[in-house]
């Protein structure tokens, strides 16, 4: 899905909404940002690796090429899905806007 919307400072007001509730009903403004983040093409896209199903996750990055292994990022272990969602949101925010979320 090739969205043309550019996430920027004008979207800062939706960040807390996401951090408080990563999964669930979202405002249209937040959804527009998520359409960019979650709609990224598959190359290097973040996924959740179920290292201990329902108990523990690490992040992975898709290769974008069928057959090529997913890159497993072992450095951060998450005990809750929401924490992983927040971490990925932070990384994507940085990538798209150039700024850190504090």
């Amino acid at each position: 899905m090739a969205t043309i919307y550019k996430v920027g400072r004008q979207d800062r007001h939706v960040v807390n909404e996401f951090l408080q509730k990563p999964i669930g009903h979202h405002s249209p403004a937040l959804q527009r940002v998520l359409n960019v983040f979650r709609g990224e093409p598959t190359q290097n896209k973040y996924v959740l690796i179920c290292t201990k199903p329902h108990r523990e996750w690490v992040l992975g990055q898709l290769s974008g090429e069928p057959g090529k292994p997913v890159k497993i990022l072992k450095d951060q272990v998450f005990k809750r899905v929401e924490d992983a969602e927040r971490e990925v949101f932070r990384r994507r925010w940085k990538k798209h806007t150039g700024s850190d979320l504090d």
Partner: protein
């Protein structure tokens, strides 16, 4: 995963035998046959429950590696007529889809170890047509046109070799020429090879075997081949033109070795030689048939109306029909084994796999309740790669895509084949799917990116929420499969007082559809425990077992689109696609039909006025008049979720149906109206705005005392176990099941 396996039949009655094939990279593995009760490993749920059943197969076995060879081709057994060829001509029409993807074989009569024989290939150097001549002493000569083929264009390709003069001619002629594109070629040259060395290899189209011994499948071609012809002398260009189509002209009869017409046997695995030499062959790994040929004009949309325009076979380097593994152990179903869902559980150290199978009831000993396991839908989804291939999956599910060990394995091992949700490596849609291979997403414990926030289950593993509930609530029930229903028809279900569907019974053949409707019409009771059911039409192959076909034509929620002209099944003479597009919308057979989907969180139902009708009193016994139904659950936290169905009189919901409850207004804006509802796009398609985004619970009576109850939600079953099964979703389901088991008619 270091251990994977499959079996040769998905269901068996006591006395019948199932063969199990296992690949194991560890020295040994242990088998326990288990009865699967619940496959959900979510600690918030009932937990994984399986019961070991003592069988003669429960042993430790020696592990051995078994691999899968994917890729489709035609093979014609060797014949003296093929062996004695010296001078020859070969021609075909081709439509290559990945000419840049390395060496690909159009035709080969070649033995790779000594490099003996001939082949017509796409050259890996520049994607042009090339002739390979092998001297049988390890040397091969390659003569190529040097002009790269374009993908998805038709070409006439031909090559000839004169054994007396060593003259080689190669033609590469696009059917459509574009200015400034140099993809046409005509080569006249002399080969160094003094003769063709003969060999006993089969004649193959679409691939070759390389290496020694059985060899490795190599040179896998992606694209169509149409009208291949082989002659025993050099043909002139004019003679080649005469051979392109139609019967072999009399002057050329003596020259023809083989003239294969792929438009015959479209519903078969056979490939026919129309010449008097009868060099018939077979397709391997089911390349797509019923495909438009080079001469398709568009006047016929059904291959039966103009078969001569459907003389193409579309080969794929990742097609798979039968993994072909050797049997490791067998299980003869004991007469004491009650009907149900089982698996051979394989364990080797920390490695584990399950091979599920169903034990059918002994005929005459059926229980009152049957769970109809939607195996056609499992096979349609078999080994899908959405979490790694589909850019949209995270967006549609509103959460990061979870991958477990099975998904990671399937991503790396594409030789395990794909699902009907995948596209091939050449981007054409996968229209066939087989169960004769390990189906690693048809397993207990498997987590799916489509399964909603929470347990994240889909299809097979989601259906274990139903087996868990039935077992825990103490019901005696049989399990039968879609395949049993397809082949045995009404006979296999007619004795049941009530049938429960799975969470997602999406794919049905006409035989399955007709039998289910007949069952209802003669007094049977159906509990539709899911949604998006009775959606796509499928066919089973008429000759070989365990493989289905779907043509994703016209519309519908789909991940690929059939090409125009390829909307009819190749396995049968039927028009493919949605049942709705053939005047059998799901509302006709289960009261409700696919209306919206979303994969983040689920919603509850609230009661509607019809739920207070006396005809529905049994359903809502014990439910308060303002009670919210199912605001809890392991699939998205609610009972209405993932894919959902609505009642609609215009689509066939019976006029007397009661619409008891709905989830209207509860869904997020990731829930969107399905595309077949959209004649034109308009704003406001999401769950907070659009009245079509809802799950409608429905009940209606059928003739002869029967009835149908529909939950209309894939997520319904995920709510059954909440609060130790003490909840209103379980209550309603139990109310319906208990009444449906009671033979007292609803309407006389």
């Amino acid at each position: 995963m270091k251990i994977t396996g499959y079996c040769d039949r998905l269901s068996a009655t006591p006395g019948e035998t199932i063969n199990f094939m296992v690949n194991c990279e560890l020295p040994t593995y242990t088998v326990d046959v288990v009865r699967i009760i619940c496959g959900d490993s979510n600690p918030a749920g009932p937990g994984v429950k399986e019961r070991i059943i003592k069988t003669s197969a429960n042993k430790t076995y020696k592990g051995r590696k078994q691999t899968i060879e994917a890729g489709s081709y035609v093979t014609i057994p060797n014949s003296p007529l093929l062996e004695i060829l010296q001078s020859f001509s070969f021609q075909a029409m081709i439509w290559p889809t990945t000419p840049e993807k390395g060496q690909q074989v159009i035709m080969a009569k070649f033995h790779d170890r000594e490099k003996s024989g001939v082949a017509l290939i796409i050259s890996e150097r520049d994607g042009s047509i090339a002739l390979v001549l092998g001297d049988g002493r390890g040397n091969e000569e390659v003569i190529s046109t040097g002009k790269s083929l374009l993908a998805r264009e038709w070409y006439f390709v031909a090559a000839s070799y004169d054994a007396k003069t060593q003259t080689v001619t190669i033609y590469q002629e696009p059917l459509v020429t574009y200015p400034l594109i140099a993809d046409a070629a005509e080569i006249h040259t002399k080969a160094k090879s003094k003769n063709i060395s003969s060999n006993q290899s089969p004649l193959m189209f679409g691939a070759i075997r390389s290496g020694s011994g059985k060899g490795k499948l190599d040179g896998k071609y992606n694209g169509k081949i149409d009208s291949p012809r082989l002659a025993n002398r050099v043909l002139s260009r004019a003679e080649m033109e005469m051979l392109k189509s139609g019967p072999v002209p009399t002057p050329l009869r003596n020259a023809i070795v083989g003239s294969w017409d792929f438009s015959r046997d479209i519903s078969s695995i056979r490939v026919s030689d129309t010449s008097p030499n009868l060099l018939h062959g077979e397709v391997v790994n089911l390349p797509a048939r019923g495909m438009k040929g080079y001469n398709w004009t568009g006047e016929a949309m059904n291959w039966q109306d103009a078969p001569e325009q459907y003389g193409a076979i579309h080969f794929h380097d990742d097609d798979l029909y039968d993994a072909g593994w050797e049997v490791d152990f067998a299980l003869t179903i004991s007469t004491t084994l009650k009907s149900g869902l089982y698996a051979a559980r394989l364990r080797a150290k920390e490695e584990e796999d399950y091979i599920p199978f169903v034990v059918k009831p002994t005929p005459g000993k059926e229980k009152k309740i049957a769970f109809l396991l939607p195996t056609a839908s499992y096979i349609a989804y078999a080994n899908e790669h959405m979490a790694t291939n589909a850019g949209l999956i995270e967006l549609l599910s509103g959460r990061l895509a979870p991958l477990d060990k099975n998904s990671l394995f399937l991503n790396e091992h594409r030789e395990y084949g794909a699902s009907c949700y995948d596209s091939h490596s050449d981007h054409s849609g996968v229209c066939y799917s087989s169960r004769l291979r390990p189906i690693l997403n048809m397993r207990p414990k498997h987590i799916s990116a489509l399964g909603g926030d929470g347990s994240s289950l889909w299809q097979f593993n989601a259906d274990t929420h139903i087996t868990d509930w039935l077992e825990t609530m103490g019901y005696e029930f049989d399990v039968i499969t879609d395949e049993d229903l397809h082949y045995q028809g009404l006979e296999v279900i007619k004795s049941y007082a009530v049938i429960l569907s799975g969470t997602h019974p999406e794919y049905h053949s006409r035989q399955m559809w007709d039998a289910m409707l007949a069952y209802q019409q003669q007094g049977g009771r159906l509990m539709y425990m899911g949604a998006n059911g009775w959606y796509w039409r499928i066919a089973y192959h008429p000759e070989v077992p365990g493989v289905i076909e779907v043509r994703r034509n016209e519309g519908g929620i789909r991940t690929w689109a059939a090409e125009p002209g390829e909307y009819y099944h190749s396995f049968t003479d039927e028009y493919g696609g949605l049942w709705r597009r053939q005047s059998r919308p799901p509302q006709m057979i289960v009261g409700t039909g696919f209306t919206a989907q979303g994969f983040d969180i689920s919603a509850p139902y609230h009661r509607l006025p019809d739920s207070f009708h006396p005809r529905a009193a049994f359903i809502f016994a014990g439910i308060g008049k303002d009670e919210i139904i199912g605001n809890f659950g392991l699939i998205g936290g609610g009972a209405a979720g993932l894919e959902i169905d609505r009642a609609d009189r215009l689509l066939g919901t019976p006029p007397h149906a009661l619409v008891l409850a709905t989830s209207l207004g509860g869904h997020t804006d990731l829930y969107l109206v399905v595309c077949e509802e959209l004649l034109a796009t308009y704003p406001g398609l999401g769950g907070t705005e659009n009245e079509l985004v809802r799950a409608d619970m429905v009940f209606y009576e059928t003739p002869n005392g029967g009835a149908v109850w529909a939950s209309s939600s894939i997520a319904w079953a995920g709510s059954l176990s909440h609060n130790k099964y003490q909840n209103n979703v379980s209550r309603i389901t139990k109310n319906v099941l208990d009444r449906f088991v009671d033979p007292a008619p609803f309407v006389k």
